[in-house]
Symmetry: D2
Subunit: 345 residues, 4 copies
């Protein structure tokens, strides 16, 4: 069985694992109060070009999203997001568990637009309605698309106009930053967002994401919020060690190298499918692609390849998701392409 | 200023007030454990033709909705409702405050359809997604329309198929039951819903709604839920007294008499406006109507009449809401019609 | 059956009822945005001698307590209170339902001391512990005792030292203010507390309490919090009308006259019992007294009088609670005293 | 600096790290749905001698405690625990964040007694009070003591009598099972508890605990609860791999070998201190010991050794905590003893 199921079906990238082994017998204080976590935070600050921010080593993406939202919002406030957003579609109501509504709209290519934010305010009235106070977008989106620099700044401007926070879910931030379409940098995110994270888990780490908070009010007592949200690890050092391994080395750090490989493998796959005339559910330039196949083709492919059916069958057609990871090889891609070719005919 | 603002701008209907005065100096135990609350519960059971249900005297509609939902759902479950539903649009996130998502869809004439319930399950996958476990509809809807008996039973059937609870918000149930289009009875609701309430506040009471629970599992420890949801009154008797006054007398009880009057006044207003060629935001047969006027007309009417702008202006046009109540007179209606006639020309 | 069960077993005091009748057919805007609610707020401000505060008409005491706490605290903060406090002992976990801990200590005469606040900080460490951020006391306490002016200011000083909010539950504030031991005024409370309420329900109203917030940060969007906490009434006017009736007239307003009567009746009862050598569970100068009787005496009294057993029987002895209300007459008291005399011998 | 700070200051035990390395490049499905997690679950079932239980791989102890409580309790129910319990003293209100109260009592030697459970019911009345529905104890306790088999069964019996669930926090279960005083087995826990966990993090793993649920009602949709509580890892396999490494091999598995080593080092330290006449805050037979020193001694030791001050100084005296781990050597212990000897004189 060849895996195109996800970018988390393997363990850590060998260089990340090496760092874990090397630091395993160092003593340190617990709960992320160690030299590696501190160093990883310093590396993030360098990458975004700001010293006046806070960086927290987090155990996963959902903890980043939910803890940030819970720390930022007062009880009667909600967060505006596309209906396809991970916080809405794949976190089992963890945001609502903290008492906050996700005011959702059907995205365009999986993306939120400034118009949707205005629409949220059309629905808003007074003390009888939830206050739209935060915008949450994902870069890349749940369906692999990315916001252009202009789109990001347009959303930022609308947030300013509406007095809202801007948060960016970066579970696959590496893939977004290094894809062909990318015209934004981490410095842009540091400049426009109140908070965002750089994902490690889907980019070569076992666990771990670096959450950046640029708004000091939201950062106030944030470690209390992490603990209360069940997100603090006794051996927190292991997150710092992994992020350190991913982020040191500047522009060409391991995070970028892995992401570029993922994107390259996805591109090879996408272009191969396009050549065969396969159509796609979304135009993704990153490491997740969503071809659409007849049901019979899907069933045939499932015999040798492991991947997601992205949506239920409709009129005999099923969109599927292929994801590439640090371990995906050209052979893996080519074997999939060859199999598709066979069954499509 | 003539009020078409709401059906809660006046105090109690004189017969309700009379009951409060008459019982004011009776001693009773607190928190709804009194003879009047018990008697009101008995009257409700007679009206719905079932003895095997539980009836709770509640202080308001939002407490009914939220307490029922919180009692029925496990933490990871959500409630399916139209986006216009009161629980979504006018309760400031009180449902989310209990940790539950409102899975919402744009309604058709303000109503939920069985297809929307299926759509909620298209979005559902597994442990990563909120479980759609309850359907919440309003009779009449937030925009005054009502579900026909067939529509109610179709939703009930879909709930059975999907293993979901059915809840009905009846803030203006009297108006629904007594309007020209009504082809359902309280007995139908008692037969199909796991819970619903008969609203008093908007039907002549100062406060008070009768919440019916037909599902004993949801009713388990329900008084603990009321207290925890801040909905238990020390002098709970006053709710029982008012509901008793509204509900005794069978088919022709005060609740129905008031509702019929409200509907009659609304009809007079609607037909008068229709004659002038006014169009409507919704086809409401109940005591709320939603004519659409040019902005200039709305501003002119606002000088002498108090009412809601239902939505923000768009292209110079504003939908407004006129509501009739137990105190609305034919003179009130005719004075509004006369004024519209003047300013429309 | 003669009622010493509670101060909420009767309806409204006749003067309060008169006000409800007189204003019943006035139209007004809903949700507490009416002239009577505004006027009641103005009266409260006069009584506490501050214009720069906010006054909210609330439906009950538990809604006051819980909504204030939920508005004031960030998620990881808790409230320090005696274990006998109403929020801990009789609100079914409504505070915890908003996510906050009640850090509780056994009170001394039902009262919190500054030492207990220090003790809460002994338990406090860092991000692993709940931050003690509010002190909540009741005046009078759950067992009828009152804090002296010195005690109140000592707690205020400790709150300042510890950077904590001070909140005062005043369900029976009238009784506290007018009892023989009282050496504090509403002006003192307005000067020292971030929030407190003056209870109406147990002082002659059907429902209604006036919640005062002196801290503008806590007051921010407070009406959103009320709505979300299920505490906003459509016909909110009826609370304003009742508080207005209770509070107009300055020092000798109806609230004080009722409270003085309640205290006088309780004193007559207490002194009568003391003469018979009865001992008490608490030294209450207000309208709740807690004599201790042998079980056999309690059972005998229960035949003609309705009251609470305050705690389970222990060694044949039961503390009970007698409460006087606006409707308690000297005859009621004397009949109880006579009966006790009979059965004690 | 020699670490007696905690049993989580080092990384993984070498054998655990070896397992992670060996399995790192195996593909698997995510979120704990992998062969290693399944196998670890099977090993747990063998150890407790029951097939009819469910075992979940959890990321940490707080997630075990809070997710279990949130899954088991209805909104108005609370959990009874000693005030020193981790859920009360070191989880920043994470239990209250799910809406549940911890009804706490001062423990005896850090332990809960059946009498305290009765006391919780003395405080319980009716719909105005939180229902005590679960007992939570820790084995070993927060101060290192352990419940004897008799004590465990006495609590179990009281839970049965009171219709309560029993939950056991086993963050250091290995240390409890293998200490000199232990007269209970995992089979006992499987027989008496509705849920408990076997801790990995403090017993040689990087992260990971095995949560056992014997009550199928609580287990219903438990994976939805884990996700909603932010506790589901994309690369969940790494927990399974570690628990597998710790638990395979039966009685003499790695978990036990590490725990025995920890206990042996702690005993060497304890006996060394006892010989010098040092007294202790608690009589712990496990790998945490709590000697009491004059402040000057503590300050002196802190120059070369890293450990916790367990409580604030009082009268010049400070209780401290020394913890031994898989990496603690006899030399570490002896160097600490030597230093104490020097400074005590």
């Amino acid at each position: 069985m060849v895996y195109f199921r996800s970018d988390y079906s393997l363990g850590a990238h060998p260089e990340v694992m090496e760092a874990l082994i090397k630091t395993n017998e160092e003593h340190s204080d617990g709960y992320g109060l160690d030299i590696h976590s501190e160093n990883a935070g310093r590396l993030v600050k360098e990458l975004i070009g700001r010293e006046d921010v806070s960086v927290h080593m987090m155990v996963g993406g959902t903890p980043c999203n939910v803890t940030f939202i819970a720390a930022a919002l007062r009880p009667y406030e909600g967060v505006v997001a596309p209906r396809s957003a991970h916080i809405y579609s794949h976190e089992t109501g963890a945001v609502e568990a903290t008492g906050h509504r996700i005011i959702n709209f059907e995205g365009v290519d999986g993306k939120l637009t400034p118009e949707m934010i205005d629409k949220a305010f059309d629905e808003y009235e007074d003390e009888h309605t939830v206050v739209p106070k935060m915008v949450s977008i994902s870069q890349p989106t749940e369906i692999g698309t990315i916001y252009s620099k202009n789109e990001l700044y347009a959303i930022r401007d609308k947030c300013k106009e509406r007095d809202m926070y801007l948060y960016i879910d970066g579970a696959r931030m590496g893939a977004a930053l290094t894809c062909d379409e990318a015209d934004f940098t981490l410095k842009d995110l540091g400049a426009i967002a109140d908070g965002f994270y750089i994902g490690g888990t889907k980019n070569g780490a076992l666990i771990g994401e670096a959450l950046v908070i640029t708004n000091p009010e939201i950062d106030d007592h944030f470690r209390w919020m992490i603990k209360r949200s069940l997100g603090m690890l006794a051996k927190g050092k292991i997150i710092g060690v992994q992020l350190e391994a991913l982020l040191e080395g500047g522009e060409n750090n391991l995070l970028s190298r892995i992401a570029r490989h993922e994107n390259k493998m996805a591109k090879r796959l996408r272009e191969g499918l396009e050549e065969m005339g396969v159509s796609f559910y979304s135009k993704s330039p990153t490491n997740q692609i969503f071809p659409v196949f007849p049901k019979t083709v899907v069933e045939e492919l499932e015999k040798d390849f492991f991947f997601y059916r992205w949506a239920p069958e409709k009129d005999g057609i099923i969109p599927v998701r292929f994801v590439t990871s640090w371990g995906t090889s050209e052979e893996d891609v080519d074997s999939l392409l060859a199999r598709v070719k066979e069954v499509l005919i």
